[in-house]
């Protein structure tokens, strides 16, 4: 049980695909002008990731090693096409905003990366939890970037006006440079926290060694 929980939590924070591993960087930069489009994009990717990871894990003993990448891509592309059509039917407005980036989930290296590194070597159950953790980590990252860019760039959050009348929209946050600034600053902050923690762990370890040394 602990293993499955670990798989999920790992994707959310410690190995967050967007903020820690920096893979699949195109959607976080391109479609996060608002929180909603970030959320939908994240969920669409999660759905594709779970489906493709499951199927690849099921079929892993049948896929010849030499042609595994094309096979993975075909499986991923199948699910992306399905998701694309489902989004177009359910949320046509958001689908229009996301545009080309939904079909482009096929080439999101997060999905192929998990297929190659995890699903093709692990049992089905763990592939699902890993895909779930990675997908949710991706989703919250996209939504978070979208929130910041929407709040500063348009003064709204999930479409609701948050900032007062006198707030001046930071137009740059709705433009591509805003995505890079936001992304960079978030990664910077997370690394700062990570380094601080690592240093504390190191300090604690050193203290323990000293204590042990004295006792010995």
């Amino acid at each position: 049980m602990q293993k499955y929980l670990d798989d999920i939590v790992r994707g959310l924070f410690r190995e967050n695909p967007t903020f820690r591993m920096l893979i699949g960087m195109c959607p976080p930069l391109a479609v996060t002008t608002s929180a909603v489009s970030g959320l939908i994009m994240g969920l669409a990717t999660t759905a594709v990731l779970i489906c493709s990871s499951t199927l690849i894990s099921v079929l892993k003993s049948l896929i010849p090693k030499q042609v595994r990448i094309p096979v993975f891509i075909v499986i991923i592309a199948t699910f992306v096409t399905m998701i694309d059509l489902i989004l177009a039917a359910l949320v046509p407005d958001v689908h229009k905003v996301l545009g080309l980036f939904v079909p482009l989930i096929v080439v999101n290296c997060l999905i192929l990366g998990r297929a190659e590194a995890f699903a093709s070597r692990m049992p089905v159950s763990r592939s699902i939890t890993d895909a779930l953790g990675m997908g949710l980590g991706f989703t919250w990252a996209l939504t978070f970037i979208g929130c910041i860019r929407e709040l500063l760039g348009a003064g709204t959050l999930f479409g609701a006006t948050i900032m007062g009348e006198s707030f001046v929209n930071w137009q740059i946050m709705q433009l591509p440079p805003g995505a890079f600034f936001t992304m960079g600053l978030i990664v910077f902050t997370l690394n700062l926290i990570g380094n601080h923690r690592a240093r504390n762990v190191q300090k604690a370890a050193r203290k323990q060694i000293q204590v042990v040394g004295k006792e010995g």
């Binding site: 001046v168 137009q171 740059i172 946050m173």
Partner: protein, 315 residues
Amino acid sequence: MAVAKSKGEGIYQLTLISSPPPHIHAAISVDRIVHMTIASLLPGVIWLLYLFGWQALRVMVLAVGAAILTEMAVMKLRGKENTVYDGTAVVTGLILAFTLPPTAPSWIVVLGAVIAIALGKQVFGGTGCNPFNPAIVGRVFLGVAFPTQLNVWIGPHSSETIASPLELWVAGEALPDYGEILAGTAGSFMGEFAFVALLLGGLILILRGYVDWRVPVGLFGAVAVFMACLGQDPLWHLLTGGVVLGAFYLAGDPVTNPITPWGRLVFGIGVGLCFGIIRYYGQDPDALFFAILLMNGLVPLLNRFLRSRRRGAAA
């Protein structure tokens, strides 16, 4: 090879001087360059205070103050020795103020200075490590984020809004003549009003050898030739658009220049050409800043391909 010791977490850090050999030790220090740069900006400061009074003073004080405070705060956060006394933050703040109009809202000025120092300079490692001119990073951020708030120009000694020379030129209306531009009655951001004072300050920097003459000469030459080829009056385009501020203080910033003489000449010409293209075809009021930012990004490439030939090495 110069080795400087600094207190970097118990390990001595190597500080390498980035210029092609041979090296000679001179009595030039960062402090002295910075003090001279501030001194050379003073005629411009006085001239702008005379033209715009309190408005100009407000922008300058806010920009410099925010730059100093940001520098101190970030140095504290990074756990580094506080180097705010070398004055580079003052220069960045002051030059940022020169790139803004006197009407710029106070909070926008402060935000620009914070971004210039924090994101333009300190994230790259502080003084001397920034690939882009910090003041331009701040200015471009503001220019892209708040175009409607910033592109409001006022004339000297009044609060009446005027059209900038660029806007008059785009609209095909009567252009201000040389006399009006030199007298500071036509312009857009503050640096554009202070042609004579900035030219004076820039010449001081060149005579003292703190700015390589190749950068401004390449820049002025490229702008003049480009505009002349398009059938424009080259002198008018040199006098407007803040070209003089850009040539000496923004593009001339030694930190963000290529290290070889040829590289600097090409750098200056590149800035001039980009400026001409963006201003002529794009009619963008921020052309100068985008041009310099673009060429700053190409500096590593220029350093790589325009190396000085080694003496005695086979050709």
